[in-house]
């Protein structure tokens, strides 16, 4: 791995040559930037705790008075969100497991075994990242329809066995290539077969990379709107994101109930925000690995 600036590999100190006014200017600009970035986010949290009658008060009220935690309960009970949560977790877990496992297997194949056509196939793999999803969506819909799987969770989970994320394969392959071959050679001499080497030696070694794509995969499946919109029709089968869309559309028919919509948006974002604070370096690792490699 090259140093992506995430893992503190080496400390580089530059003698602070900047004068005090320049430092002040730098920090001021950064603070303004942070303010612009954080205001909408804080406004979402603030609105989610407001009483409906106080939504449009001028000047804007940042600390809600009174604080209404009940908004969350009210929004959650407006639709069967318990059911939506179970559906989302069901689909996310199944898809994540298959997606990560097959990506690791395929990446291992590309990283460690020589076979005719390997480089061409790898280039094809990378180029499939550019295909717009909407183009293949119609034939895929027809395919799932012909096997009677419309309005089931199957199209949103089973496809993950066939490597959904080419970028995951790319990332894991990079990781496999940094592992010295001697480790496997020693295992082969000890009589281990490919499955044993992969499962007992390689997977533990690439754990950081697996966590990085785990985070990406969780985000992608938790937020998968396009697929859910097309394949699911019954309200009780909706995942959170589709429930949120239905919620927004049905509540905005008359006066939009922004406090409830912001509460549900916050709920939708909460697991990802928690994950972000717990595992920030894996988010950043997954984000930057393609870029810095060039």
């Amino acid at each position: 791995m090259t140093d992506t600036g995430i893992f503190p590999a080496r400390k580089r100190r530059r003698q602070a040559t900047d004068s005090i006014p320049v430092r002040v200017l730098i920090y001021t600009l950064l603070l303004i930037g942070v303010a612009i970035v954080m205001v909408p986010f804080l406004w979402m949290l603030s609105t989610s705790l407001k009483d409906q009658s106080r939504l449009f008060i001028y000047p804007p009220e940042w600390i809600p008075n009174p604080v209404r935690w009940g908004n969350y309960k009210e929004a959650w009970q407006a639709l069967p969100f318990n059911r939506f949560l179970i559906n989302t977790l069901f689909m996310t877990l199944l898809a994540m497991f298959a997606e990560i496992l097959t990506a690791a297997i395929v990446a291992y194949g590309f990283a460690r075994f020589r076979f005719p056509g390997r480089n061409v196939l790898f280039i094809i793999l990378l180029s499939t990242m550019m295909l717009p999803g909407i183009l293949t969506l119609i034939p895929k819909f027809i395919m799932w329809r012909s096997v009677g799987r419309i309005d089931t969770f199957t199209p949103l989970t089973v496809g993950a066995w066939f490597v959904w994320g080419p970028s995951f394969v790319f990332l894991l392959r990079q990781f496999f290539m940094t592992i010295p071959r001697e480790i496997e050679e020693a295992a082969i001499i000890d009589g281990a077969n490919t499955v044993q080497i992969f499962h007992q030696i390689m997977l533990p070694l690439i754990k950081p990379a697996l966590l990085a794509i785990g985070v990406l995969s969780f985000q992608a499946n938790w937020n998968n709107f396009e697929g859910a919109l097309i394949y699911l029709n019954t309200l009780e089968k909706y995942p959170m994101v589709l429930g949120l869309q239905f919620f927004g559309a049905s509540l905005s028919r008359e006066a939009p109930q922004w406090h409830l919509m912001m509460a549900m948006s916050t709920v939708m974002a909460a697991p990802i925000l928690v994950l972000f604070f717990l595992a920030q370096r894996y988010f950043i690792e997954g984000l930057t690995v393609g870029a810095v490699k060039g």
Binding site: V39, L94, K140, G159
Partner: protein, 328 residues
């Protein structure tokens, strides 16, 4: 209710088991045909992706090309109509041109603005600021919000009596203009989307570019300093060239992503008709108006546009992207 989960669980286990069985069998088969052990194992390991390539990419790709030359409503078998879909699109469908202009306009404005803003921020963050981790977290935070939450949030921010109009109320009255209706105003819907888009990608781009900046070897700067280079000249002659491959990556990813904007657009319910994205238009044609053939043709035009833009950026990159390995 439980039977829904059971059905999918069964599908999932059956398909998963079938894949592993297929990997095992292909390995046996190749060995039996005299393929070497290493190659046979390699092919077996990439089999899940190979099957996926055929079933999820090549197959649907060809099928959608065929469908684009047909009239297809899913209820009746597709009827071949030659180039009629494409002819209708370019000569008779005024909505198509509006959608196309809007989608490309969004991408062409949003991506460079986001890139420049992120470059400035990343450069500032790279000046040995204290508490870098905290700054990075704060800047990156909006980028991890689900697209759905971002869209609902900005619908609220840009509502006619939302926060943005409240804050800028005095500015509007100073210039004697009405407060804009943003997403529902055909004139303002593009700026509204751009504001939302910038906010969403800005932090992620900053983090990527910062990682790129941190990756530039320090000794290059030391060498430049010995040559008497000033700060500004160092930035444009060392930093930017060394960062150009990362900038290129962010540009490509940004263009491909922004041309395909879907979820956000779908969550912004009451847009002006002027503000429809290509992906949403394709969805509406395919799944609301049930004209799948026409939608497939639209999808192909979209693919060609993405390819065209990617190609243009790749072509131009020969002039401005600098790869260290190519140094002569």
């Amino acid at each position: 209710m439980l039977s829904w989960y059971a059905l999918t669980l069964t599908d999932y286990v059956v398909v998963g088991a079938a894949i592993f069985l297929a990997m095992f069998l292909i390995h046996r088969l190749l060995r039996w045909f005299g393929v070497g052990r290493e190659a046979a194992t390699g092919y077996a390991l990439i089999l899940p992706w190979l099957i996926g390539l055929v079933v999820w990419n090549v197959g649907p790709f060809v099928a959608s090309l065929y469908l684009s030359f047909t009239d297809y409503t899913i209820l009746k078998p597709p009827a071949w109509i030659g180039f009629d879909n494409y002819i209708e699109m370019f000569t008779d469908d005024r909505r198509f041109w509006r959608v196309l202009r809007f989608t490309i306009g969004y991408s062409v404005i949003n991506v460079p603005l986001g890139l420049i803003g992120a470059l400035i921020t990343a450069t500032l963050l790279n000046q040995d600021v204290k508490g870098l981790g905290i700054w990075r977290t704060l800047y990156y935070l909006p980028a991890v919000l689900p697209a759905a939450a971002t869209a609902l949030l900005w619908r609220w921010m840009l509502a006619s009596n939302g926060l943005i109009n409240q804050i800028f109320g005095p500015v509007y009255s100073l210039f004697g203009v009405d407060k804009p209706a943003w997403f529902t105003d055909p004139q303002m819907v593009l700026p509204a989307y751009i504001l939302m888009g910038l906010w969403g990608v800005f932090g992620a781009n900053t983090v990527i570019l910062l990682a790129g900046l941190k990756n530039i070897p320090r000794d290059l700067y030391d060498a430049a300093k010995i040559d008497g280079a000033g700060r500004i000249s160092m930035y444009f002659n060392v930093t930017i060239p060394m960062l150009s491959s990362t900038l290129f990556y962010v540009l490509i990813i940004g263009i491909i992503g922004s041309l395909q904007t879907f979820t956000q657009a779908f969550f912004i319910q009451h847009t002006a008709r002027a503000g429809t994205f290509m992906s949403v238009y394709i969805y509406q044609e395919a799944f609301e108006r049930n004209s799948m053939g026409y939608a497939a043709a639209l999808g192909w035009v979209m693919l060609l546009i993405i390819l065209l833009f990617t190609l243009l950026v790749f072509r131009s990159s020969e002039a401005w992207v600098y790869y260290e390995g190519e140094r002569s």
